[in-house]
């Protein structure tokens, strides 16, 4: 009755609501062929600027990463700044950083898929690529930091002429297994949803690209049976990869936690590392999405402010969780009353490198908490870019605090020391950073960065559920 009494305002409200909904990708569908064309154009149309950047990056990677690494192998690990008592420095810090970054792909793509968070659709692939390339950059470090990298294969368990089996009690051995498993499974998990898009590319290209797509698409024709099998496989992997993801960073944290080194020997390290990894990883996803929006063609249609907004909320939650675990680390030491841990933790905040500790808290807690609560700020790309980059700097500092700054002040004060990176451990991390960007840039021209079929599936098959004041698209009935 009330609706009949006020027909005009209600119609206005509906159309305004409709306009608001069209801001979301799910409610702004475009024809299938147009979307395919947009994705293909984003991939095939490259500017000279792109090639210049790729060239410069390739030179930097060749010199800083592989050149300096080769020099370090030839000369000795002493070209890095590590010395007694800090035997692990920037290499391990950067290793943990990259493994952390690689968590976001799985988190965004698998966990959000399992929980049917529909906003994930357009950027799952961008996040999964980040996982694979983050792992590729990170997996170099267990090799780089070795004193004798030319015999690294002695860690691999295989029947050998030395009659030696690796030590499965060593966390480094667990690391090797966990990272290999994660690299393999995340690559498969990247590849499975890629197959229909590769077939889409195969049908719309010629020349070497056609051969490339044809080979990788494995003869995909898009029959009902193929879709059924693909979806089953993706579902299995989405569930199976979640424990793998949790185990990887837990095991990385065990490198520290199962040792008896003061302030490493902490039961909180497993979840603490996971939360930190997801915080840095999701932040890196946002950074990359903003860069993609700005540089790739047609990306403003697929990656919208709503996505940055939704991921921003996730970061805020994970920043709070990280803050809790950080605080918990101190809580345990206060109640535990172990003098060594207490003195190390207080030296983090008062020692010679305390500025790192303060920057870490500022970037990981203060800045996200001050900015991310605001919807308007979460939808401002340049601001989000700065915030997410700062969070990753803060997470890098967190690992720096945990590794060299903790090793520097152990139980016997006679052996206290400091650490500062030298040539090798300055340039190699820089090189690996550009290595990641280079891989990503090359991949952006080789495979479709947007999972078109997933976006289309969302646009076609969703129903709208109203929860509170918001409209949530939901595809759950389809499965």
């Amino acid at each position: 009755m009330a609706a009949e009494a006020h027909p005009i305002p209600s119609a206005h409200a509906e159309s305004a609501e409709h306009e608001e909904l069209r801001e979301q990708l799910m409610f702004d569908p475009r024809p299938r062929e147009e979307m395919n064309r947009m994705v293909m154009e984003a991939m095939t149309e490259t500017t000279p600027r792109y090639w210049t950047v790729v060239g410069i990056l390739a030179v930097i990677v060749a010199v800083c990463l592989f050149g300096v690494w080769g020099w370090m192998i030839f000369e000795g690990t002493g070209t890095a700044g590590i010395r007694r008592p800090v035997y692990w420095g920037m290499f391990i810090v950067t290793f943990v950083f990259w493994i952390g970054i690689s968590h976001a792909g799985t988190f965004v793509s698998a966990i959000l898929r399992v929980f049917k968070a529909e906003f994930r659709r357009p950027f799952t692939r961008a996040a999964e690529l980040m996982t694979t390339f983050g792992l590729a950059a990170g997996a170099l470090y267990p090799l780089i930091h070795l004193g004798r990298v030319w015999v690294f294969y002695w860690m691999i368990p295989y029947p050998n002429a030395r009659w030696l089996w690796p030590n499965f009690r060593s966390p480094l051995e667990w690391d090797l297994m966990a990272i290999t498993t994660y690299l393999l499974s995340s690559t498969i998990y990247l590849y499975l949803p890629l197959i229909p898009d590769l077939a889409m590319g195969r049908d719309r290209t010629s020349g070497w690209r056609h051969i490339f797509f044809k080979t990788l698409a494995l003869g995909w024709r898009g029959t009902e049976a193929e879709w059924f099998r693909l979806k089953t496989a993706i579902n299995i992997f989405a569930f199976a990869i979640i424990p793998v993801m949790f185990s990887v960073h837990t095991i990385v944290s065990w490198d520290f936690a199962v040792s008896q080194t003061g302030a490493w020997n902490s039961t909180i390290f497993g979840p603490y590392f996971i939360v930190g990894a997801i915080l840095s990883g999701v932040s890196a996803v946002i950074t990359i999405l903003i860069v993609l929006r700005g540089t790739l063609k047609h990306m403003t249609y697929f990656i919208r402010l709503e996505h940055i907004d939704a991921l921003g909320k996730l970061i805020l939650i994970f920043s709070m969780a990280w803050g809790y675990f950080f605080f918990n680390d101190y809580l345990v030491s206060w109640y535990g009353g172990y003098e060594v841990t207490r003195s190390i933790l207080s030296l983090h905040a008062s020692g010679p490198e305390a500025w790192i500790w303060y920057c870490m808290l500022c970037f990981n807690v203060v800045i996200p908490w001050l900015t991310l609560w605001n919807r308007k700020w979460r939808r401002t790309p340049w601001l989000m870019f700065i915030v997410t980059v700062l969070i990753n700097v803060g997470m890098y500092f967190e690992r720096y605090t945990i590794v060299p700054m903790t090793l520097a002040h152990q139980r016997l004060p006679f052996d206290w020391g400091t650490y500062a990176p030298r040539v090798a451990d300055t340039f190699i991390p820089i090189g690996s950073f550009f290595f990641f960007i280079l891989l990503y840039m090359l991949a952006s021209r080789l495979i479709p960065l947007i999972p078109v079929w997933e976006v289309r599936e969302g646009q076609e098959a969703h129903i709208i559920r109203k929860i509170g004041k918001t409209h949530i698209p939901s595809v759950s009935d389809l499965d």
Partner: protein
Amino acid sequence: MAEEQYPARWGMVIDMNVCTGCQACVTACNMENNIPWVGEDDAGYGRTMHWMRIHRTWSGEELEAKPTFQPVMCQQCGRAPCEPVCPVFATVHSLDERINVQVYNRCIGTRYCANNCPYFARNFNWFDYSYQIPAPMNYYLNPNVTVRRRGVMEKCSFCVQRIHEVEDRAKAEGRAIHDGEVQSACAQACPVDAIVYGDLSDPESRVSAAARSQRRFVLLEELGTHPAVTYLKGEGNYGG
């Protein structure tokens, strides 16, 4: 030690009461075990390779501060933290000498053992130091001890080459090893006899008698590493 007996538990007692911090043990150890000189720059950077170091700590007020000297080397832990963390079994417990041995040829240089050693007794070969010894100086090298390459970890071996030498001689002569027959380089060089080296499993030996002293303590006992090195607490004499 008779042959049918359980293998000796080699151990050491260091009397901080008489240690003057003269560093003779450090020098003797360097010569015995082919420990390389790292050069001025690296030494200044904190990369000296000494297998044992004299920890010097000060107590008391500024003007009347007294030093305490404590020679610290690998404690040859019975439950060594370095052993389980090595992925390639480069640091293992030897059954024959019951000490903790480092196998240079297996080491791939993860340096995890050094991080997990609470005594920081381990040294890493940052460069090929031993290969940079100028020509006539290479004659100082002890032929019984391996020269280490870059990228491997090393540490005090309790002069295992000396143990083997004496064991072989005693076996050839068909007798047990006398107490005091095996001497580590540091114990031999100590001018005040602050370091006693011997078989802890023999209750009659001089080292076991010294280890039963009222003044005994082991370094970082709360970690439960069961070190083979026992310290005797200094009582303020001779600055100890």
